[in-house]
């Protein structure tokens, strides 16, 4: 079993290496058939999925599989690099390898004929390797390695079509924004290490259970406790990776990459890493109510704002990108309430319907010859029936129509928010239900604009429209079915289910006899009526979308005309990008390029020193006969520096 655990990521690494070598061979002019690359690239993920299933079947209740070796000697103790697989990891493994395999298969169709076919699969396999490292890591440090690795691969894949300047730039943006979060993550990790002396999850949990007071002492930073400080720092990392306020700006731009990449990395797996991490560190967050409030509030706000933005976008992938941001917000609401299993359940459900939507949109874009603007689509349902049906099912699932997956997962989150004992629960619920309305509207809008009405494409494109090859539609079908039925894994008690999924995940996170963090208050009747309410909201949203974009397509324009400022603001994504550009990026560039370098290192220091040098020269009159140029400056700076050192040493 332990061997299997180690084998899973190694399979992907090997796949990546072989694809890389093939890519190299190809540029050297060797003939490498695409078919061979497809087989090699898909073998890794599929085998990994089979192994995962094998492990899943053989894993005992509450068993944790561990494999590892000594890595870094920090302080007096070794940090082990190793894998630990428990139920939470198991779920993530299922998602990553399962959805990953499907997307690999889909990619063989989607990327057919691309010049960088082998390179693409090299990156994609490498991405899965790092993602597996991330979810299987037994310590925060190794998790961070995976965390950075997936970021790097996502950067490579966003900028995959490197010839396009804008796309390369998008990759850059993703990487830089993420590094801001990562700085927080690193600091949080160091603080935890200092306090507990370990970064191993199992040891950390034991430590926190044994002496929580160590984490409750002040951090010496605005009077917050160490637990709060480290949790918030880790969360900063999560907002970067999982695209939450304030660091979500990179995700929409990241849509520049190939669509399967958007589906795998920017919807199903990588962006959920933040949720996974908070779930993993649940025991620490439990010590800090403040940080939990922050997490859930940020999640709720993101869910709402991203939802409103999604309603105004016309690029089909941008809509999906903002909807991803919004859905991730839901997961953070649950994670912040301590309901990890609920968050993870939404994560799984989301992986299915959002992957399906992305791959479906890929299929549409493929058919439309690269067109992504929904205003130029329409009436595609006849021409692409499978794409239409699977996407429609997924959209309904996401909107929260029972009995599809999204209904169960989202309703559970709203219920947790409403029933939580925390004072701000009602506020979270309100934002959540508002976001749910937005979800229904923009999902309806997407489906209606794309598949209904008359086709708005030009003649040439219209002739090109066709259903995608089997490798693509087959995957869509599998994901669509998943989006439809996966909700039954976690039918809540009030509907007569057993919440099997939640029990499975919770058993990994709770010590024996421990109760889930988010204690529930409220009765079955309230729960039922709330569920009905959210279903009604979802239907209302869909109805509105139907009215606006199918029945009377001129209606939205009238509303836009009536409130132009509001529309513009939302359509421009609240101008956050512009704000960041103006307030942070440009000043930084100016400071780096203009002020600091030119003024201080060249003008300031050189100027002052030249002045001093001139003074020396004037004093020394004709003593200096050899013109040594700048060296004099250097020595003068040295002297000034030494004087400074002396002065500070003497005082």
């Amino acid at each position: 079993m332990e061997t299997l655990v180690v084998l899973i990521p190694l399979l992907l690494l090997a796949g990546s290496a072989i694809s890389g070598i093939l890519a190299l061979a190809k540029t050297r002019g060797h003939e490498v058939p695409d078919r061979a690359i497809s087989w090699i690239a898909c073998t890794g993920p599929v085998l990994a999925f089979l192994f995962t299933v094998l492990i899943f079947n053989n894993m005992g209740e509450g068993q944790v599989l561990v494999a590892g070796y000594d890595w870094i000697l920090a302080g007096g103790a070794w940090i082990k690099a190793g894998f630990a697989v428990d139920h939470l990891t198991m779920v993530m493994l299922m998602v990553v390898t399962g959805v990953g395999s499907l997307i690999h298969v889909y990619s063989t169709g989607y990327m057919k004929g691309d010049g960088g076919y082998a390179r693409y699969f090299c990156y994609l396999n490498l991405f899965m390797f790092f993602m597996l490292v991330l979810v299987m890591a037994n310590s925060l440090l190794l998790l961070f390695v995976g965390w950075e690795g997936v970021g790097l691969c996502s950067y490579l894949l966003i900028g995959f079509w490197w010839a396009d300047e804008a796309k390369a730039r998008a990759g850059m943006k993703a990487f830089l924004v993420n590094r801001i979060g990562d700085a927080g993550f690193l600091l949080g990790m160091l603080a935890i290490y200092k306090t507990a002396g370990t970064l191993n999850f199992q040891d950390l949990r034991t430590f926190v259970a044994g002496n929580p007071e160590a984490f409750l002492q002040g951090s010496g930073f605005f009077g917050v406790s160490l637990a709060t400080a480290s949790c918030l720092l880790l969360f900063l990392g999560a907002t970067g990776k999982s695209a939450q306020i304030p660091l979500y700006v990179w995700l929409p731009d990241a849509m520049a990459g190939p669509t399967p990449v958007s589906a795998l990395i920017h919807a199903a797996t990588m962006v959920t890493a933040g949720v996974y991490m908070i779930g993993r560190m649940n025991f620490l967050y439990a010590l800090s109510p403040t940080s939990m409030i922050v997490v859930s509030l940020v999640g709720a706000l993101t869910a709402f704002f991203a939802g409103t933005i999604a309603m105004t976008q016309f690029d089909i992938k941008k809509v999906l990108a903002y909807s991803t941001v919004s859905q991730l917000g839901y997961m953070f609401i649950a994670a912040g309430l301590g309901a990890v299993s609920v968050a993870v359940f939404h994560l799984v459900a989301h992986a299915f319907f959002k992957a399906c939507l992305f791959l479906g949109s890929g299929s549409v874009i493929h058919a439309m010859d690269g067109e992504q603007d929904m205003r130029k689509m329409g009436g595609l349902q006849r021409k692409m029936p499978i794409t239409f049906i699977t996407m429609a099912v997924s959209a309904l699932a996401m909107a929260g129509i029972p009995p599809l997956a999204g209904f169960f997962s989202k309703d559970e989150i709203l219920w947790k928010a409403f029933s939580s004992e925390l004072g701000h629960g009602w506020f979270l619920w309100l934002l959540g239900i508002a976001a749910a309305f937005c979800t229904a509207v923009y999902m309806g809008r997407l489906i209606f604009m794309t598949f209904f009405g008359s086709c708005r494409a030009d003649e040439k494109t219209r002739a090109h429209i066709h259903e995608s090859p089997k490798s693509m539609t087959g995957v869509l079908a599998v994901l669509g079915v998943g989006a439809a039925v996966i909700g039954f894994l976690n039918v809540p008690h009030f509907l007569g289910g057993h919440a099997a999924f939640s029990h499975y995940v919770d058993s990994a996170l709770m010590a024996a006899g421990e109760e889930p963090l988010a204690a529930e208050t409220g009765s079955v009747a309230v729960e039922l009526s709330l569920a009905l309410l959210s279903v009604m909201v979802a239907f209302a949203g869909l109805m509105l979308a139907w009215r606006w974009w199918v029945k009377d397509p001129s209606l939205p324009a009238t509303y836009v005309d009536r409130y132009p400022e509001v529309y513009e603001l939302v359509h421009d994504k609240y101008r956050v990008d512009e704000f960041y550009q103006g307030a942070i990026v440009e000043p930084l560039e100016n400071v780096a390029d203009g002020t600091l370098y030119k003024a201080i290192d060249r003008k300031g220091v050189d100027g002052a020193v030249n002045g001093m040098a001139r003074a020396f020269r004037w004093l020394g009159a004709r003593l200096a006969s050899a013109e040594t140029g700048n060296v004099r400056t250097y020595v003068a700076v040295m002297i000034a520096g030494i004087l400074l050192v002396m002065l500070s040493l003497l005082t």
């Binding site: 890519a23 190299l24 540029t27 070796y69 890595w71 870094i72 000697l73 920090a74 302080g75 007096g76 070794w78 690099a81 390695v145 965390w147 950075e148 690795g149 790097l152 490579l156 490197w162 390369a168 730039r169 990759g171 850059m172 990487f175 830089l176 590094r179 700085a183 690193l186 600091l187 160091l190 603080a191 290490y193 200092k194 951090s219 010496g220 930073f221 400071v591 780096a592 600091l596 370098y597 030119k598 201080i600 290192d601 040594t628 700048n630 060296v631 400056t633 250097y634 020595v635 700076v637 040295m638 000034a640 520096g641 030494i642 400074l644 050192v645 002396m646 500070s648 040493l649 003497l650």
Partner: protein
């Protein structure tokens, strides 16, 4: 001096004898490349490596030259790192000099002597042997910088280095003199106690200040960094790589020895000064590197920034005094961080300069960012390894550079959290922010490699095939960068993160 002493000199003998042998074999009037000479130089470095391998693990320490040199764990690590760097430099130079038509025996002799000086510096226990090592190293490097004597920039580099460097040596000597006046001794070990003596304190403090200035000059810390970019840019590229790494190794090892004595008698003022120097150095290095257009010059400024990160660890370093006055820093995360960081920096930097030395054209051209445009697709392997080196220098997890940075920043946090004094943690935070800034210019390399179309004239560029020496260095650095970042010692070869960590820890156990 006894026979016992000579045994401990074994690691030093390699480069020394090799240098003499090259002088004998290569000293002839008709000038021309002789393939035997680089092999001799490599044999010299190989001797040292074998010597280190035989002596490790070292029980206690061996003294030589009446205690002037001390062969202990730290000395062995210095010998190991320097000879790795020297061997890499030699291998790179063969191809590099061949292309420049300057493949002369003296080059290898000087590389060997400078390496010898570095090792002596890292093993010295008194000011005299320290100065001896420092000068042996520096004089050889002055000449090496100007070895491409037909190129103005190379000569300029040499002259600048010589002028500023001899000034720094003067400071160093002056500091030594003051210290001798204050303590009546040349030994490091008499320094700490003497600092407590009120009467001689002014002399000693001023002396330590001058010495510090000398060290700071050698590692290129602000405000004594001004010479560095010009010198690094003009010097032959393999030498730049060797200077950036070897000199740092030697100087930091010597600083660890000196500070381990001073810190025995907590001298707060020194930590404060170093605190500011670390900060200023990081900022100057990173900010100036942002504005560079040449990759080689960027790496020069980034070398200043790395000196700043390393200085952070110097600020927070703490050790224990064991029985009978032995100084044990094996428990000090910071000291270990310095050694590991140096290892990581060595491999990534030699690799990066190796790639640059291959790309460089006559007159130091071909090293602007634009010249890298699209190369990631033309030279797949070079692009890949250069990216990995850049990422390691930037400190991305999975590479050796990350482990180094993690240890350095971790040691600062470790020293600061839980104490009333927040300055250490603040320094760690500032360091992390700085490394974020640093990421920007390292990423520009990657962007050029992969996100820009191949330059127009690239097809006509017709660079020669990577020579065997260069290739070997690049591949070895590549493996080292990844393996020392993440590698497990599965096969028990003593190669990987864990054995290196153990070595660094053991190296610091017997500083006195």
């Amino acid at each position: 001096m006894t026979w016992e002493d000579t045994k401990s000199l074994m690691p030093l003998l390699g480069p020394f004898l090799a240098a003499l042998a090259i002088l004998v074999v290569g000293g002839r009037k008709e000038r021309g490349p002789n393939p035997l000479l680089p092999l001799l130089a490599l044999a010299g470095f190989g001797w040292t490596l074998v010597g280190v391998g035989c002596l490790w693990p070292l029980e206690g320490a061996h003294d030589a030259f009446a205690g002037g040199l001390r062969l202990d764990g730290l000395g062995l690590v210095v010998a190991l790192l320097v000879s790795l760097g020297g061997a890499a430099c030699t291998l790179l130079s063969v191809d590099y000099l061949k292309r420049r038509g300057r493949n002369l025996p003296e080059f290898y002799v000087l590389v060997l002597f400078s390496a010898l000086g570095m090792m002596v510096m890292g093993m010295s226990t008194n000011w005299l042997s320290l100065l001896l090592g420092l000068e042996t190293m520096s004089l050889a490097l002055y000449v090496l910088c100007g070895f491409l004597r037909d190129e103005t920039r190379s000569v300029e580099s040499s002259i600048k280095y010589f002028l500023t460097g001899s000034f720094a040596s003067g400071l160093f000597l002056f500091g030594m003199g003051l210290l001798y006046g204050g303590t009546g001794s040349f030994e490091f070990r008499d320094l700490g106690g003497a600092m407590l003596d009120a009467q001689s304190q002014p002399l000693i403090v001023v002396g330590v200040g001058f010495l510090l200035a000398g060290f700071l000059f050698k590692i290129g810390a602000a405000p004594l960094h001004m010479w560095l970019p010009d010198v690094y840019e003009g010097a032959p590229t393999p030498i730049t790589g060797f200077m950036a790494t070897g000199v740092k190794v030697a100087a930091f090892a010597a600083v660890i020895r000196v500070l381990s004595e001073i810190y025995q008698h907590e001298h707060v003022g020194l930590r404060d000064v170093l605190w500011w120097i670390a900060l200023i150095t990081m900022i100057v290095g990173n900010v100036a590197a942002l504005a560079q257009t040449s990759v080689k010059r960027m790496l020069a400024y980034s070398s200043i920034a790395h000196a700043g990160y390393l200085t952070i660890a110097l600020v927070v370093m703490r050790g224990a005094v064991g029985e009978n006055g032995a100084i044990d820093f094996s428990g000090s995360l910071a000291a270990r961080a310095i050694l590991y960081y140096l290892l990581a920096y060595l491999v990534a930097n030699m690799g990066a300069f190796g790639v640059l030395s291959y790309l460089e054209k006559q007159g130091g051209k071909g090293l602007a960012y634009e010249d890298l445009a699209g190369l990631g697709f033309k030279h797949r392997f070079l692009g890949l390894v250069l990216s990995v080196f850049a990422l390691s220098l930037a400190g991305i997890p999975g590479t050796a550079g990350f482990v180094g940075k993690f240890l350095v920043f971790g040691s600062a946090v470790d020293a600061g959290v839980g104490t009333a004094d927040s300055s250490f943690v603040l320094l760690a935070v500032l360091g992390i922010l700085n490394s974020l800034v640093g990421l920007y210019y390292y990423l520009r390399v990657l962007i050029q490699l992969y996100a820009k179309p191949l330059a127009e004239d690239a097809s006509t560029r017709g660079a020669p095939l990577v020579g065997m020496g260069t290739g070997l260095v690049i591949v070895a650095s590549f493996i080292g960068t990844l393996w020392w970042g993440f590698g497990a010692d599965f096969l028990n070869l003593g190669f990987g993160v864990e054995p290196a960590m153990r070595m660094m820890q053991g190296a610091l156990a017997t500083l006195r």
